[in-house]
C-alpha cells in the first residue's frame, strides 16, 4: 500500500509517504474515584508531493485510501507554496532508545492500581482535597518512505502518571499536582504523589503581596513563562519571516551568561526523543543558547532551504523536541534563602494572551508562593506579574542546581531579577 502510494506520487515529483499507527490504554480518576478506563487505536497516512516546485499535502486515517490521498495532494500542489528542498535520503542517525517493550505489557489493572495508590496518598495527607489522577501508556510505530530512497521504520513507547487535586476553602480554590512522562516505566506512583503533596503543603497558608517590583524564582514547571516566547523566537520560520525579535542576532548575548539552553532529541527514553524527525532528518543535540549567546535557530527542511541553512531535525514546523536548560550551582533552598522579598512561581494562567512573539507576558499566578526574608511564607492569591521574556533572560541572576523533567522540558529553577507584580486587595 505504502510502496504503491510512493510509486504513484513519485510519478509527479519528489514525494514522501508517512504511515503511523498507535495504541494506548489509560485509567483516569476524577473527584476521588476511578472515572474511566479507555483503550485507543489510531492510524494516520500523510502524503507530501512536490509538483513543479510546489508542495501539496493531504492526509487520511484509512491507509486503504492511499491512492485517493496521493491524488488530492497532487491536486493541491498546483496551489501550494513554492519550495526549494528535496526529501532526505538515508543518513547516519544517532542511537537513541525510544521503545521499552515493558510499557505495552502493562495490564489495565496495573494502571488502575497506580492511580489508586497516588489518590490514597494525597487523601491521606488531606482528605478534603478532591483528587484526580491518571496512568496511561501508549506505543506507536511509523514508517516513512520517500523518493530519495529513505525507508525508515521506528517506534516509541510512552508511560505517563500524574496526580493532582483541588482544595476548596470558602470561595478560594487551590489546584496543585505533579506528573511524570517518560518512555519507560520508571516513575513510582509514591514519588509522584509526594511531589504533589509537597506543593499542597507549601500552600497551606496564604500570604499577602504588595504591588511592586520583586524578584521571581521560577520552578522547572514555572519556567514555561520564559520558554514559550523564546521557542517562538528561535523557530526558523519566525526568523525567516522577520517576525522573531531574534532574527539576525545569532552570536549575540540574549541571556545572562549563566543561561544555556539546548534541544536534545538524543536523550534515551526522554518523552520527545527520537533518531529521526517527522521528515526523516537525523536528529542531534542542538545548542540554542550557550553561555547567554544565541547559538542556533530550529529549522525544518522547507524553512532551512529558504533561509540558506540546514534542517536541524525539527520537521515539521521547527518545533522543539526535548528542551534542556543547563543547571547552575545554587540549590533551590539557597535561592529562596537569598531572597528578601519575592515570588516562587510554579504555574500561571494567561500565558499567550499578551504579545508573545514580542516576548511580553502578563500572567496571573495560579500556583505561586511568597518569599519573605529567605522563607516561603505562603501561597499568593489574585496576583499578576508582567514583563518581557527577552529582558528577563538578561536578568537571570541565578540558575538552580536541581534540574527536573516536566514533560519534555528538563529545567532547574531560575531566579529572575525584579519583575512588576500587581496584587488585588
Amino acid at each position: 500500500m505504502i510502496e504503491r502510494a510512493l510509486e504513484l506520487a513519485s510519478g509527479y515529483g519528489p514525494a514522501e509517504i508517512t504511515f503511523a499507527q498507535g495504541r494506548s490504554t489509560r485509567a483516569e480518576y476524577e473527584d476521588d474515584r476511578l472515572k474511566q478506563v479507555g483503550v485507543a487505536q489510531g492510524s494516520h497516512l500523510g502524503v507530501r508531493v512536490i509538483v513543479d516546485g510546489r508542495l501539496g499535502r493531504a492526509s487520511a486515517t484509512d491507509p486503504r485510501e492511499a491512492e485517493a490521498v496521493v491524488a488530492r495532494a497532487v491536486e493541491l500542489a498546483e496551489f501550494g507554496s513554492e519550495v526549494k528542498f528535496d526529501f532526505p535520503g538515508s543518513a547516519v542517525a544517532p542511537q537513541v532508545k525510544t521503545y521499552d517493550p515493558e510499557v505495552e505489557r502493562t495490564p489495565k489493572a496495573e494502571l488502575v492500581a497506580a492511580g489508586a495508590e497516588m489518590l490514597a496518598l494525597v487523601k491521606a495527607y488531606n482528605a478534603e482535597i478532591k483528587v484526580g489522577a491518571g496512568a496511561s501508556w501508549s506505543v506507536g510505530e511509523r514508517r516513512l518512505v520517500n523518493s530519495s530512497g529513505l525507508d525508515l521504520s521506528d517506534r516509541g513507547s510512552r508511560f505517563t502518571i500524574g496526580v493532582g487535586g483541588v482544595l476548596v476553602r470558602g470561595t478560594d480554590i487551590l489546584f496543585a499536582g505533579h506528573g511524570r512522562d517518560w518512555r519507560t516505566k520508571g516513575a513510582a506512583p509514591r514519588e509522584v504523589a509526594a511531589r504533589a503533596i509537597a506543593k499542597f503543603r507549601l500552600a497551606e497558608r496564604t500570604a499577602d503581596v504588595a504591588s511592586k517590583p520583586m524578584p521571581v524564582i521560577f520552578t522547572p514547571a514555572g519556567s514555561f513563562v520564559l520558554l514559550a516566547s523564546l521557542l517562538m523566537g528561535v523557530n526558523g520560520k519566525n526568523v525567516l519571516k522577520g517576525d522573531s525579535p531574534l532574527a539576525g542576532r545569532l552570536g549575540d548575548e540574549i541571556a545572562a551568561p549563566g543561561f544555556s539552553l539546548s534541544d536534545n532529541a538524543t536523550v534515551d527514553y526522554a518523552p520527545a526523543s527520537g533518531a529521526y524527525d517527522d521528515e526523516g532528518t537525523p536528529r542531534r543535540k542542538v545548542d540554542i543558547i550557550t553561555g547567554g549567546r544565541l547559538a542556533s535557530f530550529l529549522y525544518d527542511l522547507e524553512t532551512a532551504s529558504k533561509a540558506g541553512a540546514q534542517s536541524t531535525g525539527h520537521g515539521r514546523g521547527g518545533g522543539a523536541s526535548n528542551l534542556v536548560i543547563a543547571p547552575g550551582d545554587t540549590s533551590l533552598a539557597e535561592l529562596v534563602k537569598g531572597t528578601a522579598e519575592g515570588l516562587l512561581v510554579d504555574s500561571v494562567m494567561g500565558l499567550g494572551q499578551s504579545n508573545i512573539m514580542n516576548g511580553d507576558f502578563s500572567v496571573n499566578v495560579s500556583l505561586g508562593y511568597k518569599i519573605e526574608q529567605g522563607e516561603i511564607v505562603g501561597r499568593v492569591k489574585n496576583t499578576m506579574f508582567a514583563g518581557n521574556v527577552y529582558d528577563a533572560l538578561m536578568r537571570v541572576e541565578a540558575v538552580g542546581s536541581e534540574p527536573e523533567w516536566i514533560g519534555s522540558l528538563c529545567a532547574p529553577p531560575l531566579l529572575v531579577g525584579a519583575l512588576s507584580v500587581v496584587a488585588q486587595k
Partner: protein
C-alpha cells in the same frame, strides 16, 4: 451504517452502551505575509464505543471500523474495572432522526480550491496594503464537514451533519521593537458564503494594528471597566460558564456548596443563559452527542443561580433535568459537559449610561484570549480605551483583566440593552478537547474594581 451499529450493540454485557462514528473531511489554507504558508486537505473516519457498567465507563476509540462488536466488548471489559455502585443515566426519550445539514448557500465541498485561495489572498492583500507599518499578516481559512452517526443500546439512533467554516484575519504592525496586532474572525456552521464579503473586517484588523502602535500600554491598577459585547461574552463563558458545568460540580461537595442553586451570584439585573437550540448559533445542535435535545437553560436569573449544564450522568446524579450539553469535539473523545451558545441577557441601560459617571475607567474591547482556574480568571482584551470624565478617551494596549469571578459578578453594576453575538472563529477547550465551536453573546457590561495588569 445504522444496521451495523445497532447489530453490534446487541449483547455488549454493559448496562448501557453506545457507538458514535464520524466521517470528516476538510481543507485548510493560510497566508503568512505575502506568501501562502500552507494548504492541506484531510479526511478521517473514526469512532468510539462507550460502555457503562455499574456507574463505571469504559471507552474504546478507533480508526478501524471493523469488528464493532469486539470493540464494544472491550469497552464493557474496561467499564467493569471501573464499576462501583449503581450508576445511572437520566432517562430520555428514544430518538430516531436524520438531522438535515444546516442551510449552506454554497456547499464549501463544491468550491474549487483556487477560489478558496483567491478569496483569502484578497483579504490578505488588503491587510498588507492598508498601512506602511503593517509588517506581516496571517490570513487563514478552514472548512470541515463532519458527519456524525450515533446509536445506543436503548434503541436511539441519529445522524447529524455539522459543517463549519472559519476565517481568521490577523494583521501585525511593527515599529522598531514594538509589535501590535489586529484580529478579526468569522466562524459559522454554514457554507462558503460565511467566508466571502469580509473586506471590511480585513481593513479593520489592519487599521487597528497600525493604530495600536501609537497607543500607550494601559497603566496597571484597579478600574471600573466597561466590557464590549465580545469581551462580555468571553467573561460569561470563561469566568462563569465553566463553573456551571455539572461535571465539575457533581461529586465535589464544596464546589456544589459554592454553586448551590438559589444562591445570589450577582445583582438583580444579571441574567446568564446557555442555549444550544438558538437558531443559527455557532454552538447550536438539535441533539447533543448523547442524543438529548438541546434547549435554553438559565444559569443565572435575576442575579440568582438557577441552573447548570448537564449530560445524562450528571443530571441523574444531581437529580436535575437534562439540558443537552454533552458534546464531543470529535470521534476520539467522549462527550463531556460543554457550553453551547452562552450569553448575558440585555439590560435597559444605554452605552452612555455606562460611561457617563466614570471619572477614570477602562473600555475594554474584543478578546485576545481567556482562561480560568475556577474562581480566578484572566482575560485579554485586544485593545481598550481609557474612559475619562465620562467620555471614551485614548486608545490603550496590553489590556489584561484578572480577578475572582464571584466578586466580579457582584461588581457588575450596569448592563446595556445592546446584546450582540461574537461570530468569531474561536473555540472552547476543555479536557483536552479543543476547539469546540461555541457561541458567545453579551451586551456592554460595566463592572467595578477590576484588576488590570500592566507595567507600573
Amino acid at each position: 451504517m445504522r444496521d451495523r451499529m445497532q447489530e453490534a450493540l446487541r449483547g455488549s454485557g454493559a448496562d448501557y452502551a453506545e457507538i458514535r462514528i464520524e466521517r470528516e473531511e476538510g481543507t485548510a489554507l493560510s497566508f503568512r505575509g505575502a506568501e501562502l504558508d500552507q494548504i492541506v486537505t484531510g479526511s478521517s473516519v473514526g469512532g468510539m464505543a462507550r460502555a457503562l457498567v455499574r456507574g463505571g465507563w469504559g471507552i474504546v476509540t478507533f480508526n478501524d471500523l471493523s469488528e464493532l462488536r469486539e470493540k464494544l466488548r472491550e469497552a464493557a471489559a474496561c467499564a467493569r474495572l471501573v464499576a462501583r455502585e449503581r450508576g445511572e443515566l437520566a432517562e430520555v426519550s428514544r430518538i430516531e432522526q436524520a438531522i438535515p445539514a444546516p442551510a449552506m448557500e454554497r456547499d464549501f465541498r463544491g468550491v474549487p480550491v483556487a477560489e478558496k485561495k483567491r478569496v483569502i489572498e484578497q483579504y490578505n492583500d488588503l491587510m498588507l496594503g492598508l498601512h506602511p507599518r503593517i509588517h506581516t499578516t496571517h490570513a487563514s481559512y478552514s472548512d470541515r464537514y463532519r458527519q456524525v452517526y450515533f446509536a445506543n443500546s436503548e434503541g436511539s439512533y441519529f445522524e447529524d451533519t455539522r459543517p463549519d467554516v472559519t476565517v481568521a484575519l490577523t494583521a501585525v504592525a511593527r515599529d522598531g521593537n514594538l509589535v501590535q496586532q489586529g484580529r478579526e474572525r468569522v466562524g459559522r456552521a454554514g457554507g462558503f458564503e460565511a467566508a466571502v464579503g469580509l473586506e471590511a473586517k480585513a481593513e479593520a484588523a489592519a487599521r487597528r494594528a497600525a493604530d495600536l502602535l501609537a497607543a500607550p500600554p494601559v497603566q496597571g491598577g484597579s478600574y471600573t471597566v466597561v466590557l464590549d459585547p465580545q469581551l462580555g461574552g468571553v467573561f460569561a463563558h470563561e469566568a462563569f460558564g465553566h463553573l456551571s458545568e455539572a461535571d465539575h460540580v457533581y461529586e465535589n461537595e464544596k464546589l456544589r456548596e459554592l454553586m448551590t442553586l438559589g444562591k445570589r451570584f450577582g445583582p438583580n439585573h444579571l441574567n446568564i443563559v446557555d442555549d444550544g437550540s438558538l437558531p443559527g448559533g455557532r454552538g447550536t445542535h438539535l441533539l447533543d452527542d448523547e442524543g438529548v435535545p438541546t434547549r435554553k437553560t438559565h444559569l443565572v436569573k435575576d442575579g440568582i443561580l438557577v441552573g447548570r449544564l448537564h449530560n445524562r450522568e450528571t443530571a441523574a446524579k444531581m437529580g436535575e433535568a437534562v439540558t443537552g450539553n454533552a458534546r464531543a469535539v470529535g470521534w476520539s473523545f467522549a462527550p463531556i459537559v460543554r457550553m453551547t451558545n452562552t450569553y448575558i441577557e440585555p439590560g435597559t441601560a444605554s452605552f452612555e449610561d455606562l460611561i457617563r459617571d466614570i471619572e477614570l475607567g477602562l473600555y475594554a474591547r474584543d478578546m485576545m484570549g481567556g482562561q480560568t482556574m475556577m474562581e480566578m480568571f484572566t482575560f485579554s482584551a485586544a485593545y481598550g480605551y481609557m474612559i475619562r470624565s465620562g467620555e471614551v478617551a485614548e486608545l490603550v494596549r496590553d489590556v489584561v483583566l484578572t480577578g475572582n469571578v464571584f466578586q466580579t459578578l457582584h461588581n457588575i453594576d450596569l448592563i446595556a440593552d445592546d446584546l450582540a453575538w461574537d461570530d468569531g472563529g474561536g473555540g472552547c477547550g476543555k479536557g483536552g478537547q479543543s476547539p469546540l465551536p461555541v457561541g458567545l453573546g453579551s451586551p456592554h457590561v460595566r463592572m467595578r474594581e477590576v484588576v488590570v495588569g500592566g507595567r507600573q
